[in-house]
Amino acid sequence: MKKLINDPKDVVPESVTGFVAAHGDLVRAEFDPIFIVRADAPVAGKVAIVSGGGSGHEPLHAGFVGYGMLDGAVPGPVFTSPTPDPILAATKAVDGGAGVLHIVKNYTGDVLNFETAADLAAAEGIEVRSVITDDDVAVKDSLYTAGRRGVAGTVLVEKIAGAAAQRGDDLDAVTAVATKVNAQVRTMGVALTACTVPHAGEPSFDIADDEIEIGIGIHGEPGRERIKLEPADSIVDRIIEPILDDLPFKSGDDVLLLINGMGGTPLIELYIAYKHAAEVIEERGMHITRSLVGNFTTSLEMQGFSLSVLKLDDELTELWDAPVQTAALRWGR
């Protein structure tokens, strides 16, 4: 295992220490238990938004804490959802009296731990809503699975709900917009290589030099199928078809295209994927009116990428364009 770390046990607290030192104008952190909040939290009268989950997906979620996006982020150990204590502490620290929305990726652990924290927060008189993100079309959504996973589309939910909260929407409205974004975004990913969780010391799966994993999860969970390496355009075809075939995309739609790197894929390759994905989308008669390319929801040093398509309307576009000032996403101020 070759990593730029000290003791595997210290990875999360040391990284959070560096993060808040580098971005002291935007954020501050508590360490016992560990969570990150906007430097100006709580913002009185504003709906607050908290997200969180296992670490190893940076900049998700701490990189999205700041004006116009998240109020708090709760990083668990690498790839392990946080316990209720820090979620509760973050929820209390950001509550500005207008209630708190939890944005939770759909994994049993995240859902259960946030659920417990929400119950405890409610018991302390804080109004809490939850939106569970589940944008990953690689997973069958049925009674016989834990449901679709929440993956890179979560960033779009956080940005757009964050803008709604920032402009003063109430808790119901912010919850509704987050729910809507989640309902309109679909994602699928591919891994070229595995990643190594520091405390495990071994790659999360074995994959041959000429193989790729289609439908990979963001925790190195094996995906839908293992195939031989193909040209970028063919790989894009394999994952964009299931995305576009799924509801709710149709000709004439305005969409946002997100090409998300898994952490170890260079930008030069992500733009090659963007090129072909954009071609396929335009061929289907849709219009890409907004784009995002980069590493936003990563899996440590994994090589690979995911592709997300979000159906836009005027409201979502306006909220997407609204100013945001976080470590990893910033425009308009």
Binding site: G76, T83, G109, A146, H199
Partner: protein, 210 residues
């Protein structure tokens, strides 16, 4: 040993040793069909449990011990296992509240409450390839042993053996809950890590009583 407060402490000390010893194996099982952290999660949780046992008053009864274990696991394990085991121990504590020493029936009540707590939170059914596939046979075996007049330590022994068989029985299954459910048929042939850690937990309970 009588199933009193000392037994409950000895159980947890044994569970701590077992999770430490099997950390890598549980990581490796979870690597195969999950995200490779189950061993780390369980050993982090039981490290914390071991560190807190000393805080208990000398006359703590089994329910007191189980309650401390529950809150400690909830606040240190994380992942799916944290809330599930946490709820299990919380409900188990409630089922034996106030009892200084557990008889066979109380053991069955403890195990049943733990299992039901996990089902309440996780909604898994037997055969879904989860820890429930270790807990449910353990409950049934304990119940049967009590009907046959077994003493409390024999009841635990029966539960532990059934949990071990239950863990093994997850190998041919397709998963319907937890991360392994994303894998479809590719989960076949792999043992569920949570069922295996349940088997270790119940083995530790039986050994502490032996």
């Amino acid at each position: 040993m009588a199933l009193n407060g000392d037994w409950a402490r000895a159980w947890m000390t044994g569970a701590h040793e077992s999770m430490t010893a099997h950390r890598s194996q549980l990581i490796s099982l979870d690597r195969d069909i999950g995200d490779g952290d189950h061993g780390e999660n369980m050993s982090r949780g039981f490290d914390a449990v071991a560190a807190k046992l000393g805080d208990l008053p000398a006359d703590a009864n089994p329910a007191d011990v189980l309650k401390l274990v529950a809150t400690t696991l909830i606040s240190t394990v994380g992942g799916a296992a944290g809330p599930l085991y946490g709820t299990a121990f919380l409900k188990a504590s409630g089922a034996v509240a106030g009892q200084d020493e557990l008889d066979g029936g109380a053991v069955v009540a403890l195990l049943t409450a733990a299992r039901d707590g996990i089902v309440l939170r996780g909604k898994a059914e037997p055969g879904d390839k989860t820890m429930i596939d270790a807990w449910t046979p353990a409950v049934d075996a304990a119940d049967a042993a009590v009907s046959e007049g077994a003493d409390p330590s024999a009841v635990l022994e029966a539960a532990a053996s059934a949990a071990e068989a239950g863990a093994e029985s997850t190998e041919p299954l397709v998963a319907h809950k937890g991360r392994a459910s994303y894998l479809g048929d590719r989960a076949i042939g792999h043992r569920d890590p949570g069922a295996q850690s349940t088997a270790y937990l119940l083995r530790a309970a039986a050994e502490a009583a032996a």
